[in-house]
Subunit: 280 residues, 2 copies
């Protein structure tokens, strides 16, 4: 396994971790101060700076832009909604190309937005959406990273909920699409080791995200923990990912409205850096 | 598919649905007033009445006791804890035999109680626990129904989180063990139809539970919905279960601290009865 203490540049910072208090330029500067090698910015912060200005700032920083957050949300209740979602995703791909991002992270879309009961219709919309977006993304060189989300988000955010499902989609769509493995979303999955190995053989692992599952978890979305504060055996999963050939970044992404988002981002990055060494 | 309007006796009431306001005798009487054919009582309510008295009351009611809640919680941080859990489960089997329950429902146990990071150790404890309990339960004729819980409970309650995992355990342990399929825990699972068919072929479906997934869900444990108020396509899943040969009860089990538990149980049963006809 790679030594994150000796190679701090293997870490990436997902902007969500500190975005409540910092704008994109501040996040870039924070990454540099704390030795991160990459950044995964969010669309609204890139747009707030201006896409061209953001591209310039990111290039000047020397940081790798390992992912762009986010695309997807392909489900909708009618044709107009589906078309709008696709258009939004095309813009995300354009922006990703402009800022030099390796991939757009796709949160598939939930059942609720599909306007139908049950999950089958949403799955069809998601497949159609990925297929259409891939046609657009392939010429740009921007890859699409399907991120399976925890099953508790199947209704609200994404009904691709296992790495197996994401891998199946990659098999179906081929070149230009891959997966992002987030320990928070996948740690419970009995098939995780096998599906990570499968993605590794396919060469489709485009991202590896870390945070922790807290006990108790008091909010479905915004109560994620700092690595080491929860129950996930992160080194075990990182070992699987790296044994599968993954040589990319370890991305810190923490949604924590009540704790980490309230703290000084400088402290958040200091602790993240320490936990990358001791708990990942 | 069976007609629940013409056959109200196919419904079972899980005591949790109304237990905040009713004791076991009141629940039994409510089941009879509302035409339920079966009941799934909880251990503490049976013990509060006295196991022999509960057995007598249940027998007198004519209700089938289709499940007993609950056993499992096999994970523990040390040998004493594991032994205590097994002893508690043996008592649950004894009580189930006394009250004439068809099975003890097993909530496997979570990672947290195992005292270790990661899920592998908890899985081993659960397998050991089921194996030991089966040796005890088989002679009594009481079956063990492994209920896969939603992955969001992997840490706190049960790290058997898919029907596939529960089916794998059934394959491993053979006679005397089966599964309980709850739409709330399993609706998101892409493999659900296939795994229901597999359980059907094995003849191991011991229970089918209904409630609904609300949007939004505000609490991980106690914000479950009345059938029809959420996003689950319950008739679709019931169709799969019955096509797989399941001829048992449709059990209403609603954990709803903020809504249904606060209402008059008489109303809860009236609405449940209606929704069994219109939304299941």
């Amino acid at each position: 396994m790679r030594d994150l203490a000796k190679h701090p540049e293997l870490a990436s910072l997902n902007g969500a971790t500190v975005r409540e208090r910092w704008n994109l330029q501040q996040i870039i500067d924070g990454c540099l101060r704390h030795g991160f090698g990459a950044i995964a910015p969010w669309r609204d912060q890139v747009q707030a700076m201006g896409v061209d200005a953001a591209a310039k700032a990111l290039k000047a920083s020397g940081l790798r832009v390992n992912g762009y957050c986010r695309g997807g949300l392909f489900t909708a209740a009618d044709k107009a909604g589906l078309a709008k979602a696709l258009e939004e995703n095309r813009r995300a791909v354009d922006e990703a190309a402009t800022i030099g991002a390796d991939c757009v992270v796709l949160v598939a879309g939930g059942v609720a937005a599909s306007g139908a009961k049950g999950i089958a219709g949403a799955h069809r919309q998601i497949e159609d959406g990925i297929a259409a977006l891939l046609d657009y993304a392939r010429p740009s060189g921007v890859k699409l990273a399907i991120e399976p989300l925890h099953p508790m988000y199947a209704n609200d955010r994404a009904c691709v909920n296992t790495l197996k499902h994401a891998n199946d989609l990659c098999d179906k769509f081929g070149q230009g699409v891959g997966v992002a493995v987030d320990v928070y979303h996948t740690w419970w999955d009995l098939d995780l080791e096998r599906e990570i190995a499968r993605a590794g053989r396919a060469g489709t692992i485009l991202g590896f995200h870390v945070c922790d599952w807290l006990a108790p978890t008091t909010d479905l979305l915004l109560d994620r923990g700092m690595m080491g504060d929860g129950v996930i055996d992160i080194p075990l999963i990182r070992g699987w990912v790296e044994a599968a050939g993954y040589a990319g970044f370890v991305e810190v992404e923490i949604f924590s409205a009540k704790n980490w988002w309230k703290r000084d981002p400088e402290e958040v990055l200091t602790v993240s850096r320490e936990r990358l060494r001791t708990a990942c």
